[in-house]
Amino acid sequence: MTVTPTNAKVGDPLPELTFGPISRTTLALYAGTSGDHNPIHIDLDFAKNAGMDDVFAHGMLSMAQLGRLATDWAGQDRMRALSTRFTAITPVGATLTCSGTVVDRHEEHGRVLLTVKLAAHIDDGTQTLRGEAKICGTP
C-alpha cells in the first residue's frame, strides 16, 4: 500500500528526491529568481576574495528541495511547518539526495499531526541540511 499522510506510521520513509548536479547556471538562475543576489553564490572573484575556493550553492535552493519532497508527498494544504538547519556548504557540481522519514504521529482533539524528519546529502555522503516538516495527517 502506498504510504500517504493519512495512513503513515512512524518509521515510514517518504519517496526520495534527487536534484542536480547543481551548475553555475542553476545558481545564477536561483539568484535571479529568489532575489538573493549575494555574490558569494555567483561571483568567483568575490568568493575568492572572501577566502573561499569557489562559489557555493544557496542553502535555500536545497531547502526548496526538502519543501518539494514534503509537498510532493502531502500537498501544500497539509503543510503546517517546515524547518531546516544548514549543516555544511553545498559545492558547485553537487547532486543532492533528499530523504524523509515519519518520526512521530500524534493525535489530539481528533486531528492527526505527523512529524517528518528530513535530510539532504551530497555525493560524498556529507549531510548538508537536516530538518523537519509538520504535516496534517487527518483523513
Binding site: A50, L61, D72, A81, L82
Partner: protein, 155 residues
C-alpha cells in the same frame, strides 16, 4: 567582538507591501525543479480549486527578499543593512516556516521583520542574528511566519 549591530534587537521594520506576481512565481517554481502544475500553470491550479498558482513551501524567503528590495528603493535600510550583516563572512544557519494559509499568485501581502535576538556560539567564533518575518494578507490574516538564523564567521 561581533559585527552585527546588536542595538537593533527588538527593532520591527515598517510594513512593506509585496505583490506575488504570477510570472516570477512560476519562474521560481521552475528553477527549483518543481514539476507539479499547481505551482506552474494557472489553469491546472484553478482546476485543483485554487484561485491561481500556488507559492512553493520556501517562497516566503523570496517574498521577504522582495520586501527588502522595495525597502531599498524607498531609501530604507534592508534587514541585512539594519543589523550590519557582512556578506563576506555571512552564512545562513537556520530557516523555519509556520504555515497558516497558502500564498497564491496575485496576492498582495504585507511583510514585517523583527530582529528578535543576537546570540553567540562556538566560544565566540560564530555570532547569530535571529530574525522573524511575518507575511500577512489583508483578508486572510497571517499566512506564513518565518524565523531565520543568520551567522557571521568571526576570526
Amino acid at each position: 567582538m561581533g559585527i552585527f549591530n546588536r542595538s537593533t534587537k527588538g527593532h520591527v521594520t515598517p510594513p512593506i507591501e509585496v505583490t506575488l506576481e504570477r510570472g516570477p512565481l512560476a519562474f521560481f517554481s521552475e528553477t527549483i525543479g518543481e514539476s507539479d502544475p499547481v505551482y506552474l500553470d494557472p489553469e491546472a491550479a484553478q482546476a485543483a480549486g485554487h484561485p491561481d498558482i500556488l507559492a512553493p513551501a520556501t517562497y516566503a524567503v523570496v517574498v521577504g527578499t522582495f520586501a527588502d528590495q522595495i525597502a531599498r528603493r524607498k531609501g530604507l535600510p534592508d534587514i541585512l543593512e539594519l543589523i550590519n550583516g557582512d556578506l563576506r563572512v555571512l552564512l545562513h544557519g537556520t530557516e523555519a516556516y509556520t504555515y497558516h494559509d497558502p500564498m497564491f499568485a496575485g496576492d498582495v501581502v504585507t511583510v514585517e521583520n523583527e530582529v528578535t535576538d543576537f546570540t553567540d556560539a562556538k566560544g565566540g567564533k560564530l555570532e547569530i542574528a535571529h530574525i522573524t518575518t511575518r507575511i500577512t494578507h489583508p483578508m486572510r490574516g497571517l499566512l506564513v511566519e518565518a524565523t531565520r538564523g543568520i551567522i557571521h564567521r568571526l576570526g
